[in-house]
Every structure is written in structure tokens, then in C-alpha cells.
Symmetry: C2
Subunit: 293 residues, 2 copies
Amino acid sequence: MSEQRALTDIDGGPVAIICGGGSLPLTVADTVRRNGRSVVLFPIHGWADPAAFAAYRHHWLHLGSAGRFCRLARMEGCRDVVMIGNAIRPAIRELRIDWLTLRLLPRAIRMFRGGDDKLLSGVARMMEEQGFRLIGAHEVAPEILVGEGPLGLIKPTEVHGQDIARGFELISAIAHFDVGQAAVIADDRVLAVEAAEGTDHMLDRIAALRAEGRIRIPDKTGVLVKSPKPTQDRRIDLPSLGPRTVEKAARAGLAGIAVAAGETVIAEPLRVAEAADRAGLFVVGRRRPGSAP
Amino acid sequence: MSEQRALTDIDGGPVAIICGGGSLPLTVADTVRRNGRSVVLFPIHGWADPAAFAAYRHHWLHLGSAGRFCRLARMEGCRDVVMIGNAIRPAIRELRIDWLTLRLLPRAIRMFRGGDDKLLSGVARMMEEQGFRLIGAHEVAPEILVGEGPLGLIKPTEVHGQDIARGFELISAIAHFDVGQAAVIADDRVLAVEAAEGTDHMLDRIAALRAEGRIRIPDKTGVLVKSPKPTQDRRIDLPSLGPRTVEKAARAGLAGIAVAAGETVIAEPLRVAEAADRAGLFVVGRRRPGSAP
């Protein structure tokens, strides 16, 4: 009980950051250091880019090497653990198994039945049983959250606002099915709902359907809406946004992107804003109905 | 008022069948004739196969030639109109415009904002204002509906039954967003939700995600669930099933297909059952919760 209480304090020790792909893990590491805490990075083989980690204290992990992680993180004096970066979710799905994971296997198999939410909350519980505290990247680096309002120069119109509201509603309606965090709405019509394919693939699909003439709507129509499911574990699983999302949305012929303000993670806000302005798209943070102010 | 009443009787005149692609329109025509009514077919250029229509009284239509249709159908003494076949829904979206359509244009434009349901019920209303009665193909050819139980030799297991129930639930939860009629569920996890892309494209996506290793589940896992949205206009828009759906589901590595019994249209039940047995898949009709018995 007393140990539990100690772990809930954000005290001295460095933050352990388990790093998937993309630039987000390094943005988080830099922000945490700027905020006055040290970090130890645990990049994952096959996802994280080796060159990027030279400047940080780090240990490489294989997927599923839970035992190695626990040993090294304890040695480094880490209690707080952040998991962040591209493919962290699919990566967890493809765990390579070491001894600790093996011991936990029956439960892991149960976790793998069902959607990502179950899987992620299972991982969080297992971490906690090993004496760590899984926290959201935004808890130690709040600067990575998208705020309210447009990121670039272009603003959504009132019609876009209706599509955005509809997108938030749709994502909320399917929340308890543990499905995707994104949808594309164009003039009140739902063009795509994200599930296992992920946002990038969904946007590629819109581009392809347009190219094949299966969706016939004017260029610069439609909004990509991203929002966390109200039920999901925000420590691991906030939706994220980067310059590539903007490029894909532009290629899909959309008018813009709306994300849930205060609940979406962004690695490079300036590059996102530049990409949006260049492509003629809006990127906007909007308070999701029902979200904490 | 009295004219309205006359139109609700299934009386003498031949049934006008506006024909999209695939074999379903001809199955409907044959079934209606077997049931004792004559038919006049209106195949749509670009969708229906010319060779198939020689044996039937027929007139070709261009998309959007509402005026030509009304004139010819009246001349033929038709009051009841059926619209059936592949791409009838997308086809309606791409109306080519003739004089009648032009007169109705402001309303047509309003209809095009929003999902397919709005569009289809708008078309039905316009037909009725022209003195026709739009009816479902199953109202004059009930034999085309899938009944309860498996179509081939293979039956779903209890686990499949859970995925089927989840699929029906999901489709019902998104009903009022006027989105797709299908989803793929595997071991309690939602792999895909259909929107503008259609069922075939959704199944191709599952196959691709599997080939790329982005979905890692054993072969013969997952169920395609198809169900009409509780809100949709059943006269034009019942989900349909054919041998190609079975082939695509097999290529996507699924265990089977479940459709809403009594609410799904099937063109060639024998060929579907054969295709299912050959591919080792189940195809089953299940009563959707809340559907009429």
C-alpha cells in the first residue's frame, strides 16, 4: 500500500520511454528534459531509427522482451514508464516472447482476444504488477498535446464544422466496439471509418476511391476527424498527428483535418502547420463534446 | 386518394425492373414471371450486360434519364417499379441529367448532400410523385431473400456466433450515420467497417493487411457480417450476397459470412453454397436482433 503511494508521486527517478517509430518519442524525450527530468530511452528494434538515439541514454529492446526491460529500467532507477511512437500499438500485438512474457502468457493470450483497448490496459496492469507506473507521454510533456484552434493559416467553414461534429459523434457511437479513432466525413456523408488499417491506409483508400471514380465529390471536400474513443486508455493510446497525415489528407482531396483538442498528440506542430498551409488544408483542434475542459 | 389506393394493389400491369449489373436483376425477372406477373426490364447502359436482355421485353436507359423511363414505363402500363442490381446505389449518385431530372434538380442537389439513405428515399419519393410505386424486389420475388441457417455444408461455431452478434450490434450502432452495411469481426476484434468503399473493397483490404503482416491472425479467422441498417429503405437497398462475396471472403482468410436472414438478397444460392463448400467457409443466415420474425 505504501509502495503504491510512493509510485503515484512524480518523484526523482528518470522517465523510461519505450520508443516506437517516428519523431514523437524524441520530441517527448526533449520536452521531458526541458521540464527538468532525466530520461532513459528504450527504442524497439525494427521500429525506432538507430541514428537518432546516440544523444540519449538508451537500451535497445526486442518486442516482447519484457524481462530485459524490467531489469534495465529498475537498474536505471526508473519508476515512471511512457510508451510512445508509431506502431507501438501494432508492435504490442506482435510481442516477441522472453521469460517474463512467457510466465504471463496465459493472460497475454486472453488479452489478445478482443480489441486494442483490452490489450493495452492489460499491458498497463502487467507493468504495474512489476512495480512500474505507466503514464501518458502528455503527463510528463503536456506541450505535445494539440490545443484549440487552427494550426495553420486556413480555418474550417461552418459546413466543415458540421462534418467535424458528425465525425466526433460517430467515433463516440462506436467507442465500445474498440474500433478506430478516425473517420472521414464529406458534406454529411461518411466516406470511411478506420478500424485495423490505421489512419494512413484509410486516407490512401479515399485517394484510390476518388481516382477510380467510386467517390465523386469536388476536390477539397471532406474532413478527416480524429478523436480518442471515450473509453480508451489515454496513457498509451492518444491519437497522433504529423506532417505525413497532412500530406495523405491532401492526396485524398480533403479540405482539412480536425482533431480532439487536449487529447491528440503532435510531434512537430510547426511542420504540420507548414504542410497544411502548403497543401491548402486546415488543421484544427476542436474540443470534443463531453471532454474535460 | 383513390388513385393512391389503386397503386397500392399489386394488380395486373407488368413490373418495371430498373436493372444494374450482375445476375440479380435477371433472377428477379425470372422469379416474378414464375410468380405469375409479366416484367419489362430497363437495363442501365454501362452497368447491365447487353447480351442478357434479348429474352426479355426491355428498354435501355441512361443514368438520369428519368423522363425517358417515366414515358416508357407508362406506355408499357407499369405502375410497380423495382430497382435492383450491382451499382444501383453508386449509379444513382452519378445520374446523368435529362429534362425531368433537370426540373427536379434543386431537390436532387439537396438529396446528394448526406448519405445514401437520404438519396434513395428521395428517389423513391420522386417516383411516387410521377405516379409509380417503388417496391422492393423481394416483395414480388420473396424467393431471393436468404433464410435462416447455413447455405452450404459448414456451420459457424459458438465463437463465430459471438462475432456475428457483435457485427450486428456494430452495424446497428452506426445506423443513424447512414454508413455501411457490413463489418469484419475476428475473435471479438473489429478489423474493418464498411463505408463508401463497399463490401468487395473492404474484403480486399483485409487480404492486403494480412499479406503485409499488419493483421496477424491465423487463416480462417474472422467473419464478414452484413446487415441492413435498421433505418434504411428496404425497397432499394437490401444488402446482397453472391459467389464473388464468398471468393473475396476466402481470399481475405475469413472463416465465414453471416447475413441478416429475411433481409438479404441472394442471386444464386446454389452457386453461393458451392463456392462456400469449395473454399471451406460457412455462409449463414441469422435473424438480426430486433428484426421482424
